[in-house]
């Protein structure tokens, strides 16, 4: 299987405080990966590094003096960043990576269609983009994308007048127009009600399956990870503590990740009747 996302020795400190600690991973084409972990465990930070929205630490020195190998993040065979330096062509690479934000991040004052056609900014001539004057062919591409996420009847409406779930589906359509082969979604349903959440996650996983896209979704609710993703990567305090098939998630591990109290508070309880699927324990990299 060909590797789509590859991260080597990623460490990140914010003002001396560690957020990610020597994270390495690879993700292959067509995988649907859930990124789980408690709040503050580094999920957003990891995703933003993949999209080239954040840069890694410059060298191993920031991580405490030891000479770690150079941090390197590449997507679809292109280096996004290396040693804390964004690639020169990072803007071109970003076009191939769609990013879905928790807060949608649409242009509120613009119509739905206009928001979606902005996904073509990277491939139309710069002056056309600047004048917001997109060729008819691109507008048709945008309409088709809206149709796929079930939002075509809202094309002329202002983005700010939509519900959260609808805005998120528009954001997915924008990523489709981008032609992104990789979709990164940072807690895409954290501010949505359960029904909209299912609709958004369903749309996201459906279109990516149809197009053979690679998807990484950070999620707060383990239930959704189990329902929509085949592989889970769990972060705790900036380290990967689990990486394996969703089926291998155990209550023990979830307890470890979230703590037993917060597990209940967040409604993350796993069904006790669920068969305890502890298969190969070597897939759990140091749960402690």
């Amino acid at each position: 299987m060909d590797t789509v996302i590859s991260i080597n020795n990623l460490s990140k400190h914010f003002k001396g405080k560690p957020a990610l600690n020597d994270v390495s991973l690879t993700i292959s084409r067509g995988e649907t990966v859930a990124l789980i972990g408690a709040s503050g465990s580094g999920k957003s930070t990891l995703l933003r590094h993949i999209a080239g929205l954040l840069t890694t630490d410059k060298s191993g020195q920031e991580a405490g003096g030891c000479d770690l190998p150079v941090c390197c993040v590449s997507v679809l065979g292109q280096t996004i960043q290396e040693g804390g330096q964004l690639a020169k062509k990072v803007r071109q690479h970003r076009a191939r990576v769609g990013f879905i934000f928790q807060q949608f991040n649409l242009v509120n004052r613009m119509s739905v269609l206009n928001n979606v056609v902005l996904g073509a900014l990277a491939r139309v001539p710069g002056w056309r983009g600047a004048l917001n004057w997109f060729p008819k062919s691109e507008q048709l591409v945008a309409m088709r994308a809206l149709q796929r996420v079930g939002m075509d009847s809202f094309a002329n409406q202002r983005a700010s007048t939509l519900s959260g779930g609808q805005q998120q589906r528009v954001a997915i359509a924008r990523a489709l127009v981008q032609g992104a082969e990789v979709l990164l979604a940072d807690e895409p349903v954290a501010s949505l009600d359960p029904e909209s959440s299912r609709r958004v996650l369903g749309t996201l996983t459906k279109v990516s399956k149809q197009d053979q896209k690679t998807v990484v979704i950070s999620l707060h609710q383990v239930e959704y990870a189990r329902q929509y993703c085949t592989r889970v990567i769990a972060l705790k305090k900036g380290r990967i503590v689990f990486d394996g098939p969703t089926a291998n998630l155990t209550p023990t591990l979830l307890n470890e990740l979230y703590g037993s109290e917060s597990l209940n508070v967040h409604g993350l309880t796993l069904d006790a009747s669920e068969p305890n699927t502890i298969k190969s324990s070597n897939e759990m990299t140091s749960v402690i």
Binding site: H93, F99, L121, A122, G126, N132
Partner: protein, 268 residues
């Protein structure tokens, strides 16, 4: 009355922060000292208001009855004044958009925004009257000198106001655009400007109001408009005419202010 059976623990007011109270007193002392020292420099002399009251009454009565014989000429000059304000403001808005963005620390690195901000500081620090005098020398007497004076000074003001709005934006929508692979210019056009546009429009209208007022005085140094006529009638001691001109200025400025306030309320 003491409540013996009260199960609540006793509460106490937080201790007064003596350091803060001292700072407070010191601040007020400094302010009063400043007022006292400035009294001398400003040659404050409220007594004359009383002793020369009759003089002032006499002077005020010289204005009446107001002389509106040449009202059509005054009105035409007032229109020119408004036209100076319109062009001065529009040119400054056009210039303040790039300068405002280039002085925003969330958009450009420090080595761009620092020099641009200093340039804007200079444009703002020097009054439009001073610019008017300079431009009269360069382009000659007349309204165009006034337009240029308002243009330069207002650019300095609007660039600062514009950049303050830009620095207060939500970073999210900008990242939304960035994640599509768009260029930096596109990030500004679609990520920044839609967020600040209502504020920018409001600031621009507000500056247009001020520029109408400023345009009535820059005429005093020969930069065109009703100010020139006013200055000439005062120099000729034609106070009834000067009074009439001032009435026209007051009416026009009030009208413009009301109109622009009404517009500003609609955009925000």
């Amino acid at each position: 009355m003491q409540n013996a059976g009260d199960s609540h623990p006793a509460v106490a007011l937080p201790k007064r922060d003596t350091k803060r109270s001292l700072m407070h007193a010191f601040g007020w002392g400094l302010f009063l000292a400043l007022l006292g020292l400035s009294w001398e420099g400003a040659e404050m002399n409220p007594g004359v208001l009383v002793s020369d009251a009759s003089n002032m009454l006499k002077f005020a009565s010289d204005f009446f009855p107001l002389d509106f014989h040449e009202w059509d000429f005054y009105l035409a000059e007032m229109v020119i004044t408004l036209q100076i304000a319109v062009w001065g403001t529009v040119l400054s808005i056009v210039a303040a958009i790039p300068f405002g963005i280039l002085s925003s620390e969330n958009i450009v690195p420090w080595w761009v925004y620092q020099p641009v901000r200093r340039l804007m500081d200079a444009a703002r620090a020097i009054n439009e009257m001073v610019f008017a005098m300079l431009f009269v020398v360069v382009v000659g007497l007349g309204p165009f000198a006034g337009v240029l004076a308002l243009f330069v000074h207002t650019t300095g003001i609007l660039a600062k106001l514009f950049s303050e709005a830009v620095e207060a934006i939500e970073p999210g929508p900008v990242e939304g655009i960035r994640s599509t692979g768009a260029s930096a210019i596109h990030e500004v056009i679609f990520g920044v400007i839609p967020q600040v546009l209502p504020h920018w429009i409001s600031f621009s209208l507000y500056r247009f109001e001020s520029n109408v007022r400023s345009a009535t005085v820059i005429g005093l140094v020969g930069a065109g408009g009703i100010g020139v006529v006013l200055w000439e009638s005062i120099r000729a001691f034609s106070f009834p005419q000067a009074g009439a001109i001032m009435v026209i200025i007051i009416l026009s400025v009030t009208l413009i202010d009301l109109l622009s306030q009404w517009l500003r309320k609609r955009v925000i």
